[in-house]
Protein backbone atom coordinates (compact mmCIF):
# COMPACT_ATOMS: atom_id res chain seq x y z
CA UNK A 1 0.00 0.00 0.00
CA UNK A 2 2.87 2.36 0.76
CA UNK A 3 6.13 2.25 -1.11
CA UNK A 4 8.98 4.55 -0.23
CA UNK A 5 11.83 4.18 -2.72
CA UNK A 6 15.12 5.99 -2.14
CA UNK A 7 13.36 8.96 -0.59
CA UNK A 8 15.57 11.97 0.01
CA UNK A 9 14.23 15.29 1.27
CA UNK A 10 16.46 18.33 1.48
CA UNK A 11 15.58 21.70 2.95
CA UNK A 12 18.29 23.94 1.55
CA UNK A 13 21.54 22.42 2.74
CA UNK A 14 19.86 20.39 5.45
CA UNK A 15 19.18 16.76 4.59
CA UNK A 16 16.13 15.73 6.62
CA UNK A 17 15.68 12.32 5.03
CA UNK A 18 18.55 10.56 3.29
CA UNK A 19 17.86 7.73 0.84
CA UNK A 20 15.23 5.91 2.86
CA UNK A 21 13.37 2.93 1.39
CA UNK A 22 10.73 0.75 2.95
CA UNK A 23 7.30 -0.54 2.11
CA UNK A 24 4.13 -1.34 3.99
CA UNK A 25 1.84 -4.09 2.82
CA UNK A 26 -1.93 -3.93 2.69
CA UNK A 27 -3.51 -4.31 6.14
CA UNK A 28 -0.18 -4.06 7.92
CA UNK A 29 0.42 -1.92 11.00
CA UNK A 30 3.92 -0.50 11.08
CA UNK A 31 5.58 1.50 13.82
CA UNK A 32 7.87 4.26 12.72
CA UNK A 33 10.49 4.79 15.40
CA UNK A 34 13.23 7.29 15.89
CA UNK A 35 14.41 10.02 18.21
CA UNK A 36 13.18 13.58 17.71
CA UNK A 37 14.68 15.07 14.58
CA UNK A 38 15.34 11.68 12.98
CA UNK A 39 13.22 12.48 9.93
CA UNK A 40 10.03 10.70 10.96
CA UNK A 41 7.73 13.65 10.48
CA UNK A 42 9.37 14.68 7.20
CA UNK A 43 8.95 11.17 5.79
CA UNK A 44 5.32 11.06 6.89
CA UNK A 45 4.63 14.47 5.41
CA UNK A 46 6.00 13.33 2.06
CA UNK A 47 3.78 10.23 2.23
CA UNK A 48 0.81 12.45 3.10
CA UNK A 49 1.52 14.67 0.10
CA UNK A 50 2.23 17.84 2.06
CA UNK A 51 5.44 18.38 0.17
CA UNK A 52 7.10 16.44 -2.65
CA UNK A 53 10.29 14.41 -2.26
CA UNK A 54 13.55 16.02 -3.42
CA UNK A 55 14.50 12.74 -5.06
CA UNK A 56 13.04 9.27 -4.92
CA UNK A 57 9.52 8.01 -5.37
CA UNK A 58 6.72 7.56 -2.86
CA UNK A 59 3.60 5.65 -3.83
CA UNK A 60 0.42 5.40 -1.81
CA UNK A 61 -2.07 2.80 -2.99
CA UNK A 62 -0.05 2.57 -6.20
CA UNK A 63 -0.28 6.33 -6.88
CA UNK A 64 2.87 8.42 -7.09
CA UNK A 65 2.40 11.26 -4.58
CA UNK A 66 4.07 13.71 -6.91
CA UNK A 67 2.50 12.72 -10.23
CA UNK A 68 -1.01 11.88 -9.01
CA UNK A 69 -1.38 13.82 -5.76
CA UNK A 70 -5.19 13.82 -5.88
CA UNK A 71 -5.50 10.05 -6.28
CA UNK A 72 -2.86 9.39 -3.61
CA UNK A 73 -4.57 11.70 -1.10
CA UNK A 74 -7.94 10.13 -1.71
CA UNK A 75 -6.81 6.80 -0.21
CA UNK A 76 -4.98 8.39 2.69
CA UNK A 77 -5.90 9.74 6.11
CA UNK A 78 -3.26 11.76 7.91
CA UNK A 79 -2.95 12.76 11.53
CA UNK A 80 -0.37 15.53 11.94
CA UNK A 81 1.67 15.81 15.09
CA UNK A 82 -0.04 17.97 17.75
CA UNK A 83 -3.42 17.59 16.03
CA UNK A 84 -3.99 21.12 14.72
CA UNK A 85 -7.63 22.19 14.96
CA UNK A 86 -10.05 25.02 14.19
CA UNK A 87 -11.11 26.20 17.65
CA UNK A 88 -14.29 27.92 16.48
CA UNK A 89 -15.82 24.89 14.75
CA UNK A 90 -18.02 22.28 16.38
CA UNK A 91 -16.85 18.67 16.20
CA UNK A 92 -19.65 17.72 13.84
CA UNK A 93 -19.32 20.88 11.75
CA UNK A 94 -15.62 20.24 11.40
CA UNK A 95 -16.17 16.67 10.25
CA UNK A 96 -18.76 17.89 7.77
CA UNK A 97 -16.11 20.19 6.34
CA UNK A 98 -13.57 17.36 6.20
CA UNK A 99 -16.11 15.11 4.45
CA UNK A 100 -16.63 17.75 1.76
CA UNK A 101 -12.91 18.41 1.46
CA UNK A 102 -12.29 14.69 1.05
CA UNK A 103 -15.00 14.62 -1.60
CA UNK A 104 -17.18 12.09 0.16
CA UNK A 105 -20.37 11.80 -1.93
CA UNK A 106 -23.18 13.94 -0.52
CA UNK A 107 -25.45 10.94 0.07
CA UNK A 108 -22.78 9.14 2.13
CA UNK A 109 -21.61 12.10 4.20
CA UNK A 110 -23.92 11.65 7.18
CA UNK A 111 -23.11 7.94 7.45
CA UNK A 112 -19.37 8.55 7.27
CA UNK A 113 -19.51 11.33 9.85
CA UNK A 114 -21.51 9.13 12.24
CA UNK A 115 -19.03 6.30 11.76
CA UNK A 116 -16.03 8.53 12.49
CA UNK A 117 -17.75 10.01 15.56
CA UNK A 118 -18.54 6.52 16.85
CA UNK A 119 -15.11 5.06 16.14
CA UNK A 120 -13.37 7.85 18.02
CA UNK A 121 -15.85 8.04 20.88
CA UNK A 122 -16.93 11.57 20.01
CA UNK A 123 -20.69 11.12 19.93
CA UNK A 124 -21.33 12.92 23.22
CA UNK A 125 -19.24 15.96 22.31
CA UNK A 126 -20.36 16.33 18.70
CA UNK A 127 -21.94 19.74 19.26
CA UNK A 128 -19.12 21.19 21.31
CA UNK A 129 -16.51 23.53 19.91
CA UNK A 130 -13.22 21.81 19.23
CA UNK A 131 -11.36 24.63 21.00
CA UNK A 132 -13.27 23.92 24.23
CA UNK A 133 -12.38 20.23 24.36
CA UNK A 134 -9.62 18.64 26.44
CA UNK A 135 -6.38 17.73 24.73
CA UNK A 136 -7.33 14.04 24.73
CA UNK A 137 -10.59 14.76 22.94
CA UNK A 138 -8.91 17.10 20.49
CA UNK A 139 -6.51 14.28 19.67
CA UNK A 140 -9.54 12.09 18.97
CA UNK A 141 -10.98 14.78 16.73
CA UNK A 142 -7.67 14.74 14.87
CA UNK A 143 -7.90 10.97 14.48
CA UNK A 144 -11.52 11.17 13.41
CA UNK A 145 -10.69 13.52 10.54
CA UNK A 146 -7.99 11.08 9.40
CA UNK A 147 -10.44 8.16 9.55
CA UNK A 148 -13.28 9.95 7.87
CA UNK A 149 -14.19 8.57 4.46
CA UNK A 150 -12.62 5.20 5.25
CA UNK A 151 -9.20 5.74 3.68
CA UNK A 152 -7.28 2.52 3.10
CA UNK A 153 -4.09 4.03 4.46
CA UNK A 154 -3.66 5.84 7.77
CA UNK A 155 -0.53 7.83 8.53
CA UNK A 156 -0.47 8.90 12.16
CA UNK A 157 2.31 11.17 13.37
CA UNK A 158 2.85 10.72 17.11
CA UNK A 159 -0.82 10.20 17.95
CA UNK A 160 -0.07 9.89 21.67
CA UNK A 161 2.38 12.76 22.18
CA UNK A 162 1.56 15.30 24.86
CA UNK A 163 -1.19 13.28 26.51
CA UNK A 164 -1.47 12.10 30.09
CA UNK A 165 -1.04 8.34 30.71
CA UNK A 166 -4.77 7.61 30.77
CA UNK A 167 -5.32 9.38 27.47
CA UNK A 168 -2.26 7.70 25.97
CA UNK A 169 -3.70 4.25 26.60
CA UNK A 170 -7.12 5.35 25.28
CA UNK A 171 -5.62 6.56 22.02
CA UNK A 172 -3.44 3.47 21.81
CA UNK A 173 -6.49 1.23 22.18
CA UNK A 174 -8.19 3.28 19.50
CA UNK A 175 -5.30 2.77 17.09
CA UNK A 176 -5.28 -0.93 17.94
CA UNK A 177 -8.96 -1.19 17.14
CA UNK A 178 -8.29 0.29 13.69
CA UNK A 179 -5.87 -2.45 12.73
CA UNK A 180 -6.87 -5.15 10.30
CA UNK A 181 -8.85 -3.63 7.50
CA UNK A 182 -6.57 -0.61 7.18
CA UNK A 183 -2.91 -0.09 6.45
CA UNK A 184 -1.43 1.95 9.29
CA UNK A 185 1.88 3.69 9.76
CA UNK A 186 2.31 5.47 13.05
CA UNK A 187 5.33 7.16 14.50
CA UNK A 188 6.49 7.24 18.06
CA UNK A 189 9.62 7.59 20.06
CA UNK A 190 8.42 5.13 22.70
CA UNK A 191 9.36 1.53 22.02
CA UNK A 192 6.84 -0.07 24.36
CA UNK A 193 4.04 1.73 22.57
CA UNK A 194 5.18 0.48 19.20
CA UNK A 195 5.63 -3.05 20.49
CA UNK A 196 2.03 -3.08 21.74
CA UNK A 197 0.47 -1.87 18.54
CA UNK A 198 2.66 -2.61 15.56
CA UNK A 199 3.59 -5.85 13.84
CA UNK A 200 6.65 -4.42 12.26
CA UNK A 201 8.95 -1.48 12.96
CA UNK A 202 10.92 0.87 10.79
CA UNK A 203 13.65 2.69 12.67
CA UNK A 204 15.28 5.89 11.45
CA UNK A 205 18.07 7.96 12.92
CA UNK A 206 19.50 11.20 11.56
CA UNK A 207 17.55 10.85 8.35
CA UNK A 208 18.73 7.32 7.59
CA UNK A 209 17.00 3.99 7.84
CA UNK A 210 18.57 2.00 10.66
CA UNK A 211 16.43 -1.12 10.77
CA UNK A 212 13.29 -2.55 9.29
CA UNK A 213 12.12 -5.75 10.91
CA UNK A 214 9.30 -7.59 12.61
CA UNK A 215 9.14 -7.17 16.38
CA UNK A 216 10.26 -10.78 16.89
CA UNK A 217 13.17 -10.35 14.55
CA UNK A 218 14.14 -7.13 16.24
CA UNK A 219 13.92 -8.51 19.78
CA UNK A 220 15.91 -11.55 18.60
CA UNK A 221 18.63 -9.23 17.42
CA UNK A 222 18.38 -7.23 20.59
CA UNK A 223 18.08 -10.03 23.15
CA UNK A 224 21.68 -9.73 24.25
CA UNK A 225 21.29 -6.03 24.71
CA UNK A 226 18.97 -6.45 27.66
CA UNK A 227 20.98 -5.92 30.85
CA UNK A 228 20.10 -8.00 33.87
CA UNK A 229 20.27 -6.59 37.39
CA UNK A 230 20.96 -9.05 40.21
CA UNK A 231 21.07 -8.44 43.98
CA UNK A 232 21.56 -11.18 46.57
CA UNK A 233 22.17 -11.36 50.32
CA UNK A 234 25.94 -11.12 49.82
CA UNK A 235 28.40 -8.42 48.95
CA UNK A 236 27.94 -7.46 45.29
CA UNK A 237 31.65 -8.03 44.61
CA UNK A 238 31.35 -11.69 45.72
CA UNK A 239 28.21 -12.09 43.64
CA UNK A 240 29.97 -10.63 40.62
CA UNK A 241 32.88 -13.04 41.00
CA UNK A 242 30.46 -15.96 40.77
CA UNK A 243 28.24 -14.61 38.02
CA UNK A 244 31.05 -13.64 35.70
CA UNK A 245 31.75 -17.36 35.33
CA UNK A 246 28.21 -18.26 34.27
CA UNK A 247 27.98 -19.38 30.65
CA UNK A 248 26.27 -16.75 28.52
CA UNK A 249 27.28 -13.77 30.65
CA UNK A 250 29.33 -11.46 28.52
CA UNK A 251 30.10 -8.82 31.09
CA UNK A 252 29.43 -8.31 34.79
CA UNK A 253 29.98 -5.14 36.75
CA UNK A 254 29.08 -3.84 40.20
CA UNK A 255 26.89 -0.84 40.19
CA UNK A 256 24.56 0.72 42.74
CA UNK A 257 24.84 -2.25 45.20
CA UNK A 258 23.82 -4.67 42.45
CA UNK A 259 25.50 -6.61 39.72
CA UNK A 260 24.71 -5.55 36.20
CA UNK A 261 25.08 -8.33 33.65
CA UNK A 262 25.23 -8.09 29.92
CA UNK A 263 23.93 -11.47 28.73
CA UNK A 264 23.87 -13.26 25.43
CA UNK A 265 20.21 -14.32 25.47
CA UNK A 266 17.18 -14.62 27.69
CA UNK A 267 18.00 -18.22 28.75
CA UNK A 268 20.85 -16.90 30.85
CA UNK A 269 18.36 -15.83 33.53
CA UNK A 270 17.88 -19.47 34.58
CA UNK A 271 21.61 -20.16 34.70
CA UNK A 272 22.13 -17.05 36.81
CA UNK A 273 19.51 -17.98 39.39
CA UNK A 274 20.83 -21.55 39.54
CA UNK A 275 24.38 -20.31 40.10
CA UNK A 276 23.23 -18.10 42.98
CA UNK A 277 21.23 -20.95 44.52
CA UNK A 278 24.23 -23.30 44.34
CA UNK A 279 26.12 -20.85 46.55
CA UNK A 280 23.22 -21.02 49.04
CA UNK A 281 22.55 -17.33 48.61
CA UNK A 282 19.16 -15.76 48.31
CA UNK A 283 18.25 -13.67 45.32
CA UNK A 284 16.70 -10.40 46.52
CA UNK A 285 16.25 -8.87 43.13
CA UNK A 286 16.48 -10.13 39.60
CA UNK A 287 15.14 -7.92 36.88
CA UNK A 288 15.60 -7.14 33.28
CA UNK A 289 16.20 -3.54 32.45
CA UNK A 290 13.50 -2.11 30.23
CA UNK A 291 14.87 -1.42 26.80
CA UNK A 292 14.73 2.21 25.96
CA UNK A 293 14.93 3.60 22.50
CA UNK A 294 18.37 4.86 23.37
CA UNK A 295 19.53 1.31 24.10
CA UNK A 296 18.20 0.19 20.77
CA UNK A 297 20.11 2.89 19.04
CA UNK A 298 23.25 2.04 20.92
CA UNK A 299 22.77 -1.50 19.80
CA UNK A 300 21.69 -0.91 16.23
CA UNK A 301 23.60 2.19 15.31
CA UNK A 302 26.65 2.64 17.45
CA UNK A 303 27.68 -0.97 18.18
CA UNK A 304 27.84 -2.20 14.60
CA UNK A 305 29.87 0.91 13.84
CA UNK A 306 32.26 0.11 16.70
CA UNK A 307 32.44 -3.51 15.63
CA UNK A 308 33.28 -2.64 12.06
CA UNK A 309 35.84 -0.12 13.32
CA UNK A 310 37.41 -2.85 15.43
CA UNK A 311 37.33 -5.26 12.52
CA UNK A 312 39.13 -2.69 10.41
CA UNK A 313 41.81 -2.44 13.04
CA UNK A 314 42.20 -6.21 12.95
CA UNK A 315 41.22 -6.77 16.59
CA UNK A 316 38.30 -9.08 17.45
Amino acid sequence: MIEVCNLTKRFGDFIAVDDVSFSVGSGECVGFLGPNGAGKTTTMRVIAGIFPPTTGVVRVGGHDVRREPGAARRVLGYFPENAPFYPEMSVQGYLAFVARAKRVARADRATHIEKALAECGLREVRHRLVGKLSKGYRQRVGLSQALLGDPEVLVLDEPTSGLDPGQVSEIRELVKSLRGQRTIVFSSHILSEVSQVAQRVVIVDRGRLVAEDSLEGLSGRLAGAVPLWVRADVAPEALRAVLVGVAGVERAEVSDGRVRLVVRDEGVVEAVSRAVAEQDWLILELRREALSLEDIFLRLVREPAQRSARAAEGTP
Binding site: K9, F11, G12, A16, T42, R45, A48, G49, I50, F51, P52, P69, G70, R73, R74, L76, Y78, P80, N82, P84, F85, Y86, P87, E88, M89, G93, F97, V98, R100, A101, K102, R103, Q145
Partner: protein, 245 residues
Protein backbone atom coordinates in the same frame (compact mmCIF):
# COMPACT_ATOMS: atom_id res chain seq x y z
CA UNK B 1 -13.75 24.57 -3.31
CA UNK B 2 -17.26 24.42 -1.96
CA UNK B 3 -15.93 22.90 1.26
CA UNK B 4 -13.52 25.77 1.79
CA UNK B 5 -16.16 28.43 1.03
CA UNK B 6 -18.51 26.93 3.61
CA UNK B 7 -15.81 26.53 6.22
CA UNK B 8 -14.74 30.16 5.84
CA UNK B 9 -18.32 31.40 6.02
CA UNK B 10 -18.82 29.44 9.24
CA UNK B 11 -15.62 30.97 10.59
CA UNK B 12 -16.73 34.50 9.58
CA UNK B 13 -20.12 34.25 11.17
CA UNK B 14 -19.32 32.14 14.23
CA UNK B 15 -16.49 34.46 15.21
CA UNK B 16 -18.85 37.47 14.79
CA UNK B 17 -16.23 39.12 12.57
CA UNK B 18 -18.59 39.28 9.61
CA UNK B 19 -21.43 40.71 11.71
CA UNK B 20 -19.20 43.35 13.22
CA UNK B 21 -17.69 44.38 9.88
CA UNK B 22 -21.09 44.55 8.18
CA UNK B 23 -22.67 46.45 11.09
CA UNK B 24 -19.82 48.95 11.19
CA UNK B 25 -20.02 49.46 7.45
CA UNK B 26 -23.74 50.08 7.57
CA UNK B 27 -23.43 52.47 10.52
CA UNK B 28 -20.62 54.55 9.07
CA UNK B 29 -21.96 54.59 5.50
CA UNK B 30 -25.34 55.58 6.97
CA UNK B 31 -23.66 58.53 8.61
CA UNK B 32 -22.01 59.40 5.29
CA UNK B 33 -25.42 59.36 3.65
CA UNK B 34 -26.84 61.62 6.33
CA UNK B 35 -24.06 64.18 5.94
CA UNK B 36 -24.02 64.00 2.13
CA UNK B 37 -27.76 64.44 2.06
CA UNK B 38 -27.62 67.41 4.43
CA UNK B 39 -24.92 68.99 2.31
CA UNK B 40 -26.95 68.66 -0.87
CA UNK B 41 -30.18 69.79 0.70
CA UNK B 42 -28.67 72.78 2.48
CA UNK B 43 -26.62 73.87 -0.52
CA UNK B 44 -29.51 73.28 -2.88
CA UNK B 45 -29.55 73.55 -6.60
CA UNK B 46 -27.36 70.54 -7.28
CA UNK B 47 -28.30 67.49 -9.24
CA UNK B 48 -29.34 65.45 -6.23
CA UNK B 49 -29.56 62.00 -7.78
CA UNK B 50 -26.23 62.11 -9.60
CA UNK B 51 -24.22 64.21 -7.19
CA UNK B 52 -25.40 62.60 -3.99
CA UNK B 53 -24.55 59.05 -5.06
CA UNK B 54 -21.26 60.10 -6.50
CA UNK B 55 -20.15 61.44 -3.14
CA UNK B 56 -21.72 58.57 -1.27
CA UNK B 57 -19.85 55.93 -3.30
CA UNK B 58 -16.53 57.73 -2.94
CA UNK B 59 -17.03 57.87 0.84
CA UNK B 60 -17.95 54.21 1.01
CA UNK B 61 -14.80 53.39 -0.99
CA UNK B 62 -12.72 55.09 1.67
CA UNK B 63 -14.29 53.11 4.48
CA UNK B 64 -13.94 49.84 2.56
CA UNK B 65 -10.21 50.44 2.54
CA UNK B 66 -10.26 50.41 6.35
CA UNK B 67 -12.59 47.46 6.83
CA UNK B 68 -11.77 44.91 4.15
CA UNK B 69 -8.24 44.08 5.36
CA UNK B 70 -9.98 42.82 8.52
CA UNK B 71 -11.83 40.24 6.45
CA UNK B 72 -8.73 38.84 4.79
CA UNK B 73 -6.14 39.08 7.55
CA UNK B 74 -6.94 35.73 9.11
CA UNK B 75 -7.62 33.70 5.97
CA UNK B 76 -4.13 32.19 5.66
CA UNK B 77 -2.26 33.67 8.63
CA UNK B 78 -4.56 31.85 11.06
CA UNK B 79 -4.28 28.52 9.21
CA UNK B 80 -0.53 28.82 9.26
CA UNK B 81 -0.41 29.70 12.95
CA UNK B 82 -2.73 26.83 13.91
CA UNK B 83 -0.94 24.37 11.63
CA UNK B 84 -4.19 23.47 9.90
CA UNK B 85 -2.89 24.43 6.46
CA UNK B 86 -0.81 21.26 6.63
CA UNK B 87 -4.02 19.29 7.10
CA UNK B 88 -5.73 20.98 4.16
CA UNK B 89 -2.79 19.92 2.04
CA UNK B 90 -3.44 16.24 2.80
CA UNK B 91 -7.00 16.42 1.44
CA UNK B 92 -7.64 16.05 -2.27
CA UNK B 93 -7.88 19.86 -2.63
CA UNK B 94 -5.76 21.80 -5.07
CA UNK B 95 -4.11 25.03 -3.93
CA UNK B 96 -6.25 26.92 -6.46
CA UNK B 97 -9.36 25.59 -4.77
CA UNK B 98 -8.14 26.61 -1.33
CA UNK B 99 -7.31 30.16 -2.49
CA UNK B 100 -10.49 30.59 -4.53
CA UNK B 101 -12.61 29.13 -1.74
CA UNK B 102 -11.32 31.71 0.71
CA UNK B 103 -11.68 34.49 -1.86
CA UNK B 104 -15.28 33.57 -2.67
CA UNK B 105 -16.21 33.43 1.04
CA UNK B 106 -14.77 36.92 1.55
CA UNK B 107 -16.57 38.13 -1.60
CA UNK B 108 -19.87 36.86 -0.21
CA UNK B 109 -19.36 38.86 2.97
CA UNK B 110 -18.53 41.92 0.84
CA UNK B 111 -21.67 41.34 -1.20
CA UNK B 112 -23.78 41.15 1.95
CA UNK B 113 -22.14 44.30 3.24
CA UNK B 114 -22.93 46.22 0.04
CA UNK B 115 -26.41 44.72 -0.19
CA UNK B 116 -27.23 46.22 3.20
CA UNK B 117 -26.63 49.71 1.85
CA UNK B 118 -29.22 49.19 -0.91
CA UNK B 119 -31.63 50.33 1.75
CA UNK B 120 -30.44 53.94 1.35
CA UNK B 121 -31.70 54.58 -2.18
CA UNK B 122 -34.97 52.91 -1.22
CA UNK B 123 -35.28 55.22 1.78
CA UNK B 124 -34.89 58.21 -0.51
CA UNK B 125 -37.45 56.91 -2.96
CA UNK B 126 -40.30 59.15 -1.69
CA UNK B 127 -38.11 62.21 -2.18
CA UNK B 128 -36.98 61.29 -5.65
CA UNK B 129 -38.88 61.22 -8.88
CA UNK B 130 -37.32 57.93 -9.90
CA UNK B 131 -34.45 55.68 -8.81
CA UNK B 132 -31.20 56.72 -10.52
CA UNK B 133 -30.82 53.13 -11.71
CA UNK B 134 -27.82 53.63 -13.98
CA UNK B 135 -25.84 55.53 -11.38
CA UNK B 136 -26.60 52.91 -8.75
CA UNK B 137 -25.79 49.89 -10.92
CA UNK B 138 -22.50 51.36 -12.11
CA UNK B 139 -21.56 52.59 -8.65
CA UNK B 140 -22.25 49.30 -6.92
CA UNK B 141 -20.47 47.34 -9.64
CA UNK B 142 -17.45 49.61 -9.19
CA UNK B 143 -17.49 49.23 -5.42
CA UNK B 144 -17.81 45.45 -5.69
CA UNK B 145 -14.93 45.11 -8.15
CA UNK B 146 -12.78 47.44 -6.09
CA UNK B 147 -13.62 45.50 -2.95
CA UNK B 148 -12.72 42.25 -4.71
CA UNK B 149 -9.34 43.75 -5.60
CA UNK B 150 -8.78 44.74 -1.94
CA UNK B 151 -9.66 41.21 -0.83
CA UNK B 152 -7.36 39.55 -3.38
CA UNK B 153 -4.48 41.74 -2.24
CA UNK B 154 -5.29 40.95 1.40
CA UNK B 155 -5.32 37.21 0.75
CA UNK B 156 -1.82 37.26 -0.72
CA UNK B 157 -0.47 39.19 2.24
CA UNK B 158 -2.23 36.89 4.69
CA UNK B 159 -0.48 33.94 3.03
CA UNK B 160 2.89 35.55 3.71
CA UNK B 161 2.70 35.72 7.50
CA UNK B 162 1.46 33.91 10.57
CA UNK B 163 0.44 37.18 12.22
CA UNK B 164 -3.03 38.49 11.53
CA UNK B 165 -2.18 41.97 12.79
CA UNK B 166 0.78 42.17 10.46
CA UNK B 167 -1.33 40.93 7.57
CA UNK B 168 -3.94 43.64 8.17
CA UNK B 169 -1.35 46.41 8.61
CA UNK B 170 0.58 45.50 5.47
CA UNK B 171 -2.59 45.07 3.39
CA UNK B 172 -3.85 48.45 4.53
CA UNK B 173 -0.51 50.07 3.67
CA UNK B 174 -0.23 48.47 0.23
CA UNK B 175 -3.77 49.52 -0.66
CA UNK B 176 -3.17 53.03 0.67
CA UNK B 177 -0.09 53.26 -1.53
CA UNK B 178 -2.21 52.39 -4.56
CA UNK B 179 -4.52 55.20 -3.53
CA UNK B 180 -1.94 57.95 -3.07
CA UNK B 181 0.00 56.93 -6.17
CA UNK B 182 -1.36 59.88 -8.17
CA UNK B 183 -1.22 62.50 -5.41
CA UNK B 184 2.16 63.62 -6.55
CA UNK B 185 0.88 65.17 -9.78
CA UNK B 186 2.82 68.42 -9.37
CA UNK B 187 6.17 66.68 -8.98
CA UNK B 188 6.09 64.17 -11.83
CA UNK B 189 6.03 64.65 -15.56
CA UNK B 190 3.00 64.00 -17.73
CA UNK B 191 4.03 60.53 -18.97
CA UNK B 192 4.81 59.32 -15.46
CA UNK B 193 1.58 60.74 -14.15
CA UNK B 194 -0.29 58.95 -16.92
CA UNK B 195 1.38 55.69 -15.98
CA UNK B 196 0.65 56.17 -12.29
CA UNK B 197 -2.96 57.00 -12.96
CA UNK B 198 -3.25 53.81 -15.00
CA UNK B 199 -1.96 51.86 -12.03
CA UNK B 200 -3.96 53.69 -9.39
CA UNK B 201 -6.59 51.46 -7.93
CA UNK B 202 -8.78 54.18 -6.53
CA UNK B 203 -8.95 56.51 -9.51
CA UNK B 204 -10.61 53.62 -11.32
CA UNK B 205 -13.80 54.34 -9.45
CA UNK B 206 -14.44 57.82 -10.90
CA UNK B 207 -16.20 56.65 -14.05
CA UNK B 208 -18.29 54.15 -12.11
CA UNK B 209 -19.54 56.72 -9.59
CA UNK B 210 -20.61 59.02 -12.39
CA UNK B 211 -22.82 56.25 -13.70
CA UNK B 212 -20.56 54.94 -16.44
CA UNK B 213 -19.00 51.52 -16.95
CA UNK B 214 -15.71 51.57 -18.80
CA UNK B 215 -14.45 48.16 -19.88
CA UNK B 216 -10.89 49.36 -19.29
CA UNK B 217 -11.69 49.96 -15.62
CA UNK B 218 -13.50 46.63 -15.28
CA UNK B 219 -10.59 44.83 -16.93
CA UNK B 220 -8.06 46.55 -14.71
CA UNK B 221 -9.91 45.67 -11.49
CA UNK B 222 -10.51 42.05 -12.53
CA UNK B 223 -6.90 41.68 -13.61
CA UNK B 224 -5.70 43.23 -10.36
CA UNK B 225 -7.63 40.58 -8.39
CA UNK B 226 -6.51 37.77 -10.69
CA UNK B 227 -2.84 38.71 -10.42
CA UNK B 228 -2.96 38.67 -6.63
CA UNK B 229 -4.85 35.38 -6.52
CA UNK B 230 -2.46 33.66 -8.92
CA UNK B 231 0.41 35.08 -6.90
CA UNK B 232 -1.09 33.57 -3.74
CA UNK B 233 -1.36 30.15 -5.38
CA UNK B 234 2.28 30.41 -6.50
CA UNK B 235 3.27 31.45 -3.04
CA UNK B 236 1.56 28.47 -1.40
CA UNK B 237 3.14 26.13 -3.93
CA UNK B 238 6.63 27.43 -3.29
CA UNK B 239 6.20 27.27 0.49
CA UNK B 240 5.03 23.74 0.11
CA UNK B 241 8.00 22.80 -2.02
CA UNK B 242 10.37 24.26 0.53
CA UNK B 243 8.52 22.54 3.34
CA UNK B 244 7.48 25.70 5.22
CA UNK B 245 3.95 25.98 6.44
Amino acid sequence: MNAVVRKELVAYFSSLLAYVVIALFLAVSGFYLYSNLSFFLLSGGFDLTRGLWQYQFLDMRQYMLTLLPLLTMRLFAEERRLGTLELLWTYPLRDVEIVLGKFVAALLVLLLMLAGTLLYPLLLLPAEAALPVEALVAGYLGLFLLGAAFLACGILISALTESQVLAAAVTYSVLLLFWVLTWNEAAVGAPVLWLLSQLSLFDRLYTFVRGGIDTADVTYLVLFSAVFLVWTVQCLGSRRWRGVR
